[in-house]
Symmetry: D2
Subunit: 296 residues, 4 copies
């Protein structure tokens, strides 16, 4: 009887570190990437906060959110002008703002003075978004769209690579290697929930995998950001999981914020409002300081 | 205490059938799509078989395999000229044959007289592949790459949509709707294994989800194909799971075949060889007849 | 950086075969246990069928079902007099028949002349059930209740060990070893569905793991039975998954049968009725013959 | 086409709160159980810490650990005299200390003056353990061994109910209801890792589910404890996950501590040593204070 003790695609081996993702792998246990994006330091004491609505619904909304989250302490404004939807039909409410949304983000970025992260979904929009955004976000559904990763990498812009909800750590680091191999070193990993046998609400589909924070940091020098909003899909759990993420060692925190969560264009169960966000930033800073870091 | 009994993204509801994937959904319990591709009927008594190597390694290989699988009863030749790999580095052995491989497939198709299915991974190659192949395969990692689905759909060519290893049935049918909404009705679904908490070998990462065959067929009129080779990743399990797929009601079967499995360029643990394939086709036909269908 | 390549509790290794479950492990690839229970052969050509209601609701019900399933070809009558429920409250309808149910099963066994399998849930009832039943069933929730396994094993009665819905193949074989080590060799494994990230209906919680059939048979000589009723929890999927189980190589099939499924005391979505069962037995026999075995 | 929108066994509904686990369910959002065990308050500001070795290997070991963890701030000594093992064979090293181990725990409890929690695995040992221990631990593999839950509940002793690695929140709360229905109200829930499709090391089998902390606390008034040692199975991840658990709102923390982790009788990859524990307690206290609670 033969039992093969190799396990392709399942767990990380020494060979992976050397041959599969050598650029992503740490050179030594203390190795940690530090880089600056729009003047904000990643990989150091600071835990940068990305905040904003799921979608750039209107010019007014995004300007208002930009003002509020900046004042509350956020380092980056997030918001999608392009948004992957599971089904091809969109109600009026769900309409993507697309090129117009990118212009609204540009205006918010300039007027409010807050750098911007936004998702790109298609190769043809890469130049448009790369020209405006400070960080290009690659969504979880594109995590293993390898030619797309390469195309984004070639812009030279910093990239946040969201983990697919079904991907292993090995898959995720392999995808990041596709970006680094192009000479683009400012890569940020973002955990946003994984599909598991049992979630805890009928409305919740994912589980925030905080164990991947120390697990990834043991292997890679890249910063690891946590997104508790998409993972929990449930407002009351966002704050405890954000604080837990900070305590687990996250290198950044992405929070969905909307002035009127119940009337958000998409996923109205998950954003927190301005006052909740203000409070959360303060609480995150206290927890961050308890673990030797800072949010503010 | 509020408990929301809606479950976005988790399970299929009546609303989904009517508003999320109305084109994919059956109109009535007996509704089943029938269509013909290269003279092969889908959705009827016949269970078409797709066979061939993981990769189009050389002209000789693909011609040889085409001859053998056709003689054994396969209806389509499969083989990848473009191949998504988890990591950006390829040994010489793993080199994709790319445009050259497409030409070799074309030659095999014409000389041997067997229609071809092959994967397209990038928008820029869609015209090349749509022009040669009888069916365009969209790989699991691109299942929710929505602009790409749309671009493939617009070619008008039949499309096989592989299920992502982390995707729900609802996700998968939603992705198929993106193709049908473009007026392209020849869509084939393909189950190829899902990630689960416990697989059964260190080398096996997925579990073939045969329950999805009756589950999908209860909801959609589209044919459902099963790929036991990628799912099991282990040669000895391919035959039992192929037979089980036939018995479960699969509308097609995709089998990886290589003249010399141990020396296959990729995934050498999963292909079966010519004589195993010949035997399997016969056994599949016997089981198919036991459930009122046929392979030969 | 250290990466430990051992994987305790995850996958099966050569050491496991030799040191963890040597009695359960095959001695050579052809090794397969054959034994007889109440005159029914296990591990040979025959695929014995276990049929009956979830619960022994009344004397009349169990006598009626015993008659019907025997006539249709079932080899064993199944039915629970004791039933683990997730919550401590039972409506009148759900009342266990307990000792009385055991007497009703005894009467059905004798009058109808069909051997019986029933679950034991508590050590104190082992003697009562071991004295009446032909096979003792250990439910999935007790799969790793090791002292209980030992106590059941010591009766010397044949035992069906259901796999826990969260257990790996390694866990399951380890549990079986606890029975064999007591000198009890008539152990039957039963797969009844595993918890996975995505099931296919709001009412379905498990996925029938048919891949475990060849996977278990590659490692162990013990017969592997499949229970599609509990796994699918949905009547229309029972027949296709039963047929698939046969084709995958199952050594037995457990089917929930109730004269009036909608009014079954528990789990009314999963049993099939008498005429569906009759038809299914015939279809299973046809598929069994297609793979060189038989049900009738 | 019928789609049933009920989901038995999958997610928690309003009916569950009222009819399935009314004693476990909160009466109002602010409802939280407070009770005292051996003078240690649960459900208040304090986050009690349970520390000790996996197994009570020897009298010397347990006395030494009791002294050290008490001095470092632990509130309870943990240690197993009885230990469920996946396989029936134990090397000398793995021998359970059983009744003798219970006596050693009693001695440590009295001499060092630290209350004790230990697992009971069999009904016949309940009186012995209930008489000595301050808290009875029910292991994850017995979580749904309902008669056993009832028997433990009837002792009137406080009970810690570990979640099975495959169980949903609903399963777990249902199991807890079996204890409360016996009039035993001092029930502590303990999360210890769940089986998921992708863990992050070959040696790690589980993922610590911290999302269940706010999820459980939203539904139940019972305290929720976190065990990062068994979940991570990897020493370097214990501290970050313990801190994360505190930040997520855990009502208690269970940490495996051994004077010489590499030579621990079982699971040598997971315990931390004395100095690591001392430091961790201090760090947990700092994080606890950052979220308005305390460990010391």
């Amino acid at each position: 009887m033969t039992i093969e003790n190799k396990f392709p695609g399942k767990d990380i081996t020494i060979e992976d570190l050397e041959h599969k993702f050598p650029l992503v792998a740490k050179k030594n246990p203390a190795h940690k990437s530090k880089f600056s994006i729009a003047g904000v330091e990643f990989g150091g004491d600071l835990i940068p906060v990305f905040a904003g609505p799921n979608m750039v619904e209107s010019r007014e909304l995004i300007l208002d959110v930009a003002n509020h989250v900046k004042r509350a302490g956020a380092h980056f404004l997030r918001g999608g002008a392009f948004k992957p939807l599971t089904f091809p039909y969109r109600s009026t409410k769900y309409n993507e703002s697309r090129e117009m949304g990118i212009e609204w983000l540009r205006e918010a970025r300039e007027k409010v003075g807050i750098p911007v992260i936004t998702e790109v979904m298609e190769e043809k929009y890469i130049p448009l978004i790369a020209e405006m955004a400070d960080i290009i976000q690659i969504g979880s559904r594109n995590m293993q769209n390898f030619p797309f990763l390469t195309a984004c990498a070639k812009t030279g812009k910093p990239i946040m690579l969201k983990r697919h909800y079904g991907a292993s750590l090995r898959d995720w680091l392999g995808a990041a290697e596709y970006i680094l191999v192009e000479g683009n070193e400012r890569v940020i990993l973002c955990e946003r929930g994984v599909a598991v046998p049992h979630t805890h609400r009928a409305t919740s589909r994912f589980l925030l995998d905080l164990q991947v924070v120390p697990a990834a940091q043991e292997i890679t020098h890249l910063p690891v950001v946590v997104d508790p909003s998409h993972a929990t899909f449930w407002r009351p759990w966002v704050a405890p999981m954000a604080l837990a993420g900070i305590a687990a060692g996250a290198d950044g925190m992405m929070i969905e914020v909307h002035p009127d969560p119940k009337n958000a264009a998409v996923d109205p169960l998950q954003p927190i409002d301005y006052s909740e966000f203000e409070l959360l930033v303060k609480r995150m800073d206290v927890v961050a300081k308890a673990v030797g870091r800072r949010v503010l």
